[in-house]
């Protein structure tokens, strides 16, 4: 039976209180807060963060396929999964696939992964899901949704949980949609969406699936789904015999928001963090139909080496002081920036990007075979002993680092001023100068511990310039 080898999530560190959003629109904010992707994050970079978290203690593990699910892919044409695979240094034999167009795509990617594993086409599949939901300013979903990503490494051996069964039901209804060329989702009338959208479909799917699998509601410790409103879905599953106040995994709705295609799997990950051996978790992924599957933990969950837990990430946060910043980060207002040299003079060109894919995109430099000097970026002639072309690849992206010196720069154009320019020295050798992201200004000191994170530096000329930044270590 196929199941889960490892998992990890990424919740952006910035949070916006819903009361702050409410105040901005002179209306009442709902309780709690939502996660907000930094200006340098998108669905792709968040998926990389979740995948790196998932693989933190499984670095050498063979990954045969990488599936990426999102409704907010950075490119409409050009695969995201291939770029994620390159960042993770997966081999060219990796089967990369993008899933999209429905919030169900996260759980559907799991379904496809199970099929690949069960058919023998792949031994392991890394499923990543991420979303930055696209709703109008002032919409209720702007408050209730949030940004986030999750990754599951699925396979047949060394499982911390088995996926006992997986059912999928399709359903055609126009409840939430976004047409080509439009920036924001549209939704049908609220009562219709509740009652004849997810209410009808989820109830039908879970009911049929439980019946088909001879399963009962009380066999599950948790029910996990991608629901914007836990209260109304609670009523739906209550009619199926579940006790929503005990069984519905709803914490993320309160503190992070509905993360779309990642939500059901993030909820499942959170449920797994507190699950003991032999417990069952029911997962429902809604979106033009519904995927329903059952996870059952194994004995191995007791000794599972967690990456950064979702539970910890919920509590590690930087509160945003204003709603304006949220609008600016999402590009929803065109703000006046200090007149600085135009970015198009630093536009990445496809040939230059391509040359760097194999080495530098994974944040690799070189280590001299002759004198052992570690250097970034990669060099052909050693900076120490000057020998030519005697270099081994040396990857920095997981190596602990420290800040040698830094400056908060207030004149560089950025959507998160100041730019914290940082000189980073890696443990064991190697130096890099880069920006520090997701930092509080008062925590930045010489000698602080840093780790590396994959981000979007900027976007110009229709090309996203993805690269690495440093960030304070969060345990």
């Amino acid at each position: 039976m196929a199941g889960i080898i490892s998992f990890g999530a990424h919740i952006p560190i910035h949070r916006l209180s819903r009361s702050v959003i409410g105040q901005s629109w002179e209306s009442r904010g709902t309780p709690g807060e939502r996660a907000v992707a930094n200006y340098d994050e998108d669905s792709l970079t968040m998926a990389v963060a979740a995948a790196r978290n998932c693989l933190k203690h499984f670095a050498g593990k063979k990954v045969d396929a990488l599936y990426f699910a999102t409704t907010t892919a950075p490119y409409l044409e050009k695969q995201s999964a291939a770029l994620i695979a390159a960042v993770l240094a997966l081999p060219e034999e990796t089967h990369t696939l993008d899933f999209g167009n429905s919030l169900r795509c996260g759980t559907s990617a799991v379904s496809a992964a199970l099929n690949a594993i069960n058919s023998g086409a792949a031994e392991t599949v890394l499923v990543c899901a991420a979303d930055i939901r696209a709703f109008h300013p002032k919409s209720s979903q702007e408050m209730s949704c949030g940004d986030g990503a999750v990754a599951f490494l699925l396979g047949k051996e060394d499982l911390i949980a088995e996926i006992e069964w997986f059912d999928s039901y399709t359903d055609e209804v126009q409840d939430v949609w976004r047409i080509q060329g439009e920036q924001f989702n549209r939704t049908a009338e609220e009562r219709f969406v509740q009652d004849f959208g997810y209410g009808r479909v989820v109830r039908n799917a879970i009911g049929k699936s439980l019946k088909k699998r001879n399963a009962a509601a009380d066999q599950f410790s948790k029910v996990c789904g991608n629901f914007t409103d836990p209260r109304s879905i609670g009523k739906v599953i209550g009619k199926l015999g579940f006790k929503p106040e005990e069984q519905l995994q709803g914490e993320l709705n309160q503190n992070v928001g509905d993360t779309g295609s990642a939500m059901a799997l993030m909820n499942a990950a959170l449920a797994l963090e507190s699950a003991s051996a032999g417990q069952r978790i029911l997962v429902a992924g809604y979106g033009n139909g519904c995927d329903v599957f059952s996870i059952k933990t194994t004995d191995k969950i007791a000794n599972y080496p967690f990456g950064r837990k979702i539970g910890d990430q919920i509590n590690q946060k930087i509160m945003m002081s204003s709603y304006n910043k949220f609008l600016i980060w999402r590009g929803l207002v065109d703000v006046s920036l200090t007149p600085r040299p135009p970015l198009n003079e630093r536009q990445p060109t496809p040939p230059a990007q391509w040359r760097e894919v194999k080495w530098e995109l994974t944040l690799s430099g070189t280590k001299c075979q002759e004198c052992g000097t570690i250097q970034y970026p990669p060099q052909r002639v050693c900076m120490s002993c000057k020998i030519k072309d005697k270099m081994d690849r040396y990857c920095f992206n997981r190596i602990p680092a420290k800040a040698v010196t830094f400056s908060h720069d207030y004149i560089m154009e950025t959507l998160d001023s100041p730019v914290t320019t940082t000189v980073v020295d890696f443990e064991g050798g190697g130096r890099m100068i880069c920006d520090m992201t997701d930092r509080k200004l008062d925590e930045v000191v010489v000698g602080m511990d840093l780790e590396m994170t994959f981000r979007k530096l900027y976007s110009v000329g229709g090309i996203n310039n993805y690269w690495w930044k440093c960030t304070p270590v969060r345990k």
């Binding site: 200090t338 990445p348 760097e356 400056s407 730019v419 020295d425 920006d435």
Partner: protein
């Protein structure tokens, strides 16, 4: 290896008023600087046998110079060495004269930065070694990184460090107030400098030189001809340049509290000029104070102060006009701004005038040997020119 010492002399110089010269084009500034230098040397345009032209952003070839000056089909070399471009133009002209390739050469630098429509310097196109994927750091940030390390290395608190840097700004602004060609000619107080808005922490507004327009020019000739042009020529003693291989950006061995290229260029120049004790033998120096922290570290890197002792020497007034080793007597980059291609020649203009005793209110007593230090790039990845000149052969 032969030295250039006493083979070449400067017999004329020109320099326009630096600043936000919205009313002047590149052509205007080139013509004004060149014709002041011609008049100073007592020559005409037709006497120039070859020219070295320093500029970064005006375009390609020597045509940018030959067109406004109507140079008559002579060789023009367009030089670029980032912020050390002006000195590089002078170095090229001096080497050609020393080699006997020509007897009278023009070195001229110009930059027009106020027409770009934005703050700061234009971007340089990404290239293979400075990838678009590396840090987007600004020039102030690049030097701020050194300030933080210098403070830490010398146990200076942020307050003490900023006060020390402010003293440099106050000194240079005082000198600028005596310089009719400076962009800023106003004195400032220590408090003003220390309380100024932060540009790149810990550097504030008064720690940074402005961006400006300007041009400066020199006429160089064979040393044995020099006195036929004027009674007080200035002789080239050393003309060194040091290009770092960007090692400080890559090697944890670099302490980020000094500039290696400055140290090495200084050592090479002192050797070429035969100077054993620079702290005693140099009468005056114009150094690249693009930021106050740069001037501070240059004092140690050029051996004017012992390592870690620059703060004491700054406090004691050693580097003020009237001090033992006056630095940036014209106000430096702090008051002249930094039109990239022109700065190195502007520095030499001040040293030349001082060595001739023609620096008016800024005049120091009995100078013999002067030095210019002109830096391109940033700490960890710099190119540094050190030129030494004297008024005796």
């Amino acid at each position: 290896m032969e030295s250039i010492k006493n083979k070449v002399a400067i017999v004329g110089m020109g320099c326009v008023k630096f600043g936000e010269n919205f009313d002047k084009s590149i052509d205007d500034m080139l013509i004004d600087a060149a014709y002041e230098a011609y008049a100073d040397a007592g020559i005409e345009s037709k006497d120039i046998q070859a020219a070295w032209f320093g500029n970064l952003w005006a375009g390609h070839t020597g045509q940018i110079l030959a067109t406004p000056l109507k140079l008559s089909y002579i060789p023009v070399t367009h030089t670029e060495n980032a912020c050390a471009t002006g000195s590089e133009a002078l170095r090229g002209a001096c080497y050609a004269v020393a080699a006997g390739a020509c007897d009278i050469a023009l070195a001229i630098g110009v930059e027009k930065l106020k027409d770009t429509g934005f703050m700061g310097l234009p971007q340089t196109r990404p290239n293979a070694t400075w990838s678009y994927r590396l840090s987007s750091m600004t020039a102030p940030a690049g030097f701020a990184l050194m300030a933080t390390r210098y403070f830490a290395k010398n146990n200076l608190s942020l307050e003490e460090g900023k006060r020390l840097l402010a003293k440099i700004a106050v000194k240079n602004h005082h000198n600028g107030s005596l310089s009719p060609k400076a962009q800023f000619q106003k004195e400032i107080t220590l408090e003003t400098a220390m309380k100024a808005p932060i540009v790149s922490s810990p550097l504030g507004l008064f720690d940074c030189c402005p961006v400006s327009d300007g041009a400066a020019a020199a006429i160089v000739v064979r040393a044995d001809m020099a006195k036929s042009f004027r009674p007080d020529p200035i002789y080239i003693k050393a003309m060194q340049i040091c290009q770092g291989p960007r090692e400080g950006f890559m090697s944890p061995a670099y302490d980020y509290a000094h500039v290696e290229e400055t140290r090495r260029a200084g050592v090479a120049a002192y050797k070429e000029a035969g100077i054993g004790n620079p702290a005693q033998e140099i009468s005056i120096a114009e150094v690249h104070d693009c930021f106050t922290i740069t001037e501070l570290t240059i004092m140690e890197d050029l051996q004017f102060s012992l390592s870690g002792k620059a703060p004491e020497d700054i406090e004691s007034g050693r580097y003020e006009i009237g001090g033992a080793l006056p630095i940036n007597t014209d106000g430096g980059l702090k008051c002249f701004g930094h039109p990239i291609g022109a700065t190195g020649l502007r520095m030499m203009y001040e040293v030349y005038k001082q060595l001739q005793g023609k620096a008016d209110k800024r005049q120091i007593k009995n100078p013999i040997i002067g030095l210019t230090h002109n830096q391109g790039g940033e700490p960890g990845a710099a190119v540094v020119s050190v030129a030494i000149v004297g008024n005796e052969k």
